[in-house]
Symmetry: C2
Subunit: 238 residues, 2 copies
Amino acid sequence: MSTQEDAPAERRRRAPLNRERVLSAAVALADRDGVESLSMRKLANDLGVVPMALYKHVANKEDLLAGMVDMVIAEYDPPRTNSDWKGAIRSRILSARRALLRHPWSRQVVESRKQRTPAVLSYMDSLSGMFMAGGFSPDLTHHAMHALGYRIWGFSPEAFEDPDAFPIPDDPQEQEAMLRQVSQVYPHIYAIAMDASGGDITAVGSSCDEQYEFEFALDLLLDAFEQLHAAKWTSSER
Amino acid sequence: MSTQEDAPAERRRRAPLNRERVLSAAVALADRDGVESLSMRKLANDLGVVPMALYKHVANKEDLLAGMVDMVIAEYDPPRTNSDWKGAIRSRILSARRALLRHPWSRQVVESRKQRTPAVLSYMDSLSGMFMAGGFSPDLTHHAMHALGYRIWGFSPEAFEDPDAFPIPDDPQEQEAMLRQVSQVYPHIYAIAMDASGGDITAVGSSCDEQYEFEFALDLLLDAFEQLHAAKWTSSER
DNA sequence: GGCAATGGTGTACTGCGTACACCTGACGGG
DNA sequence: CCCGTCAGGTGTACGCAGTACACCATTGCC
């Protein structure tokens, strides 16, 4: 967002595109409209350019998406070095989460990516290094990284997040009928929802504090790793 | 795969389609060719029918995919009732994993689904019920379910799974050069890979035992839940 | 001043999901 | 037996994707 304020009038000879400007525009577009409406054509349009021009700077859409993920990774805070492994890893991952929340689309892009870019590998290497700096064996580090999974990218790996899974009708009578039905068909989910919302029916939909859930699971895992490390765990079979 | 062996000759008056046959054909197609090449047109073609005919049986492609997930869920073993909560949950989830491995595409479909179908809710309800039958509070059950995340569907939530992340050249000289480079740029990943493969360079690519990783993380979580339960944990903030 | 490289253009192709109007053949009531 | 209904299959068409390929314009170097 620097040198493109000349937009409508006399925009001949605008600064030439480059990979970075393409990626930034893509990130901006996805931030604004969501990744599902990011197309090469729309992106080109945003840049005042014809679609095929983009292909001089990115190999294809896959490459574009990979580059966008790299831009998000570039926003992560650098690792803290002045603390124990657990605090350092925890705060690095929470920083990844903050970046992810600034770019909500990145979750689904990370999920769909297959190729590891250097930036991705770098981050994974750095995180592994933080475990090892805490005295973890390569073996335990390896399994810890796998166990964290998507969580190293700052999101909880959960399916079916539609907030309208249980649409709450306005009419109180329908509401009650719906609840009675749910309580019969999905009694345990009902119990959880009631418990989580403190019985306030209208709050059921939004009763999950995602940040709390994330930190809960993260800390659970880090604590478990700590115990295994203290117990000098090694993977049994070999 | 029952009543469609009449294919080329005189196929007038084939048995009419129904939702189930459409879904089965879709599952078969995805098993065969992968979900990325599942299109309404190809599916219709497999069924000897024109694309628009499918829309008499599924609302749209989203609905088709949701139905396919339901078919996979239908393959899960029923819950074991004759064991402790941990064993029962463990074996139910491993059964989900077996179904998932039979239908490798379902992983990415589950990841992309937003709407919870009744079958999905049912499974989640049943799993929650197994925790509660083990004496878990709704509160702890809730957080345990979130912490498990995608793992309840039988897969490890990990990004960037491309097996060719580090293509191993055939030429031993290039191989060594590549390894030296990796060891410098990603020293910790290098250490892990070496450790996991026991130093056998050519085995580095395939050195992750996914099933072991899955069970490792699953057991880690279940054990952690058990400890929290024993300690009468409740979510602090409320 | 000519020439190669760099980067933007225009046109076109294939494949997708699906809207909409239409046809067809089976069935049930008069 | 005829006729209306209707479930289910058809045909055509639209808009939107990603991107191959041939082309042109600008620039900087010899």
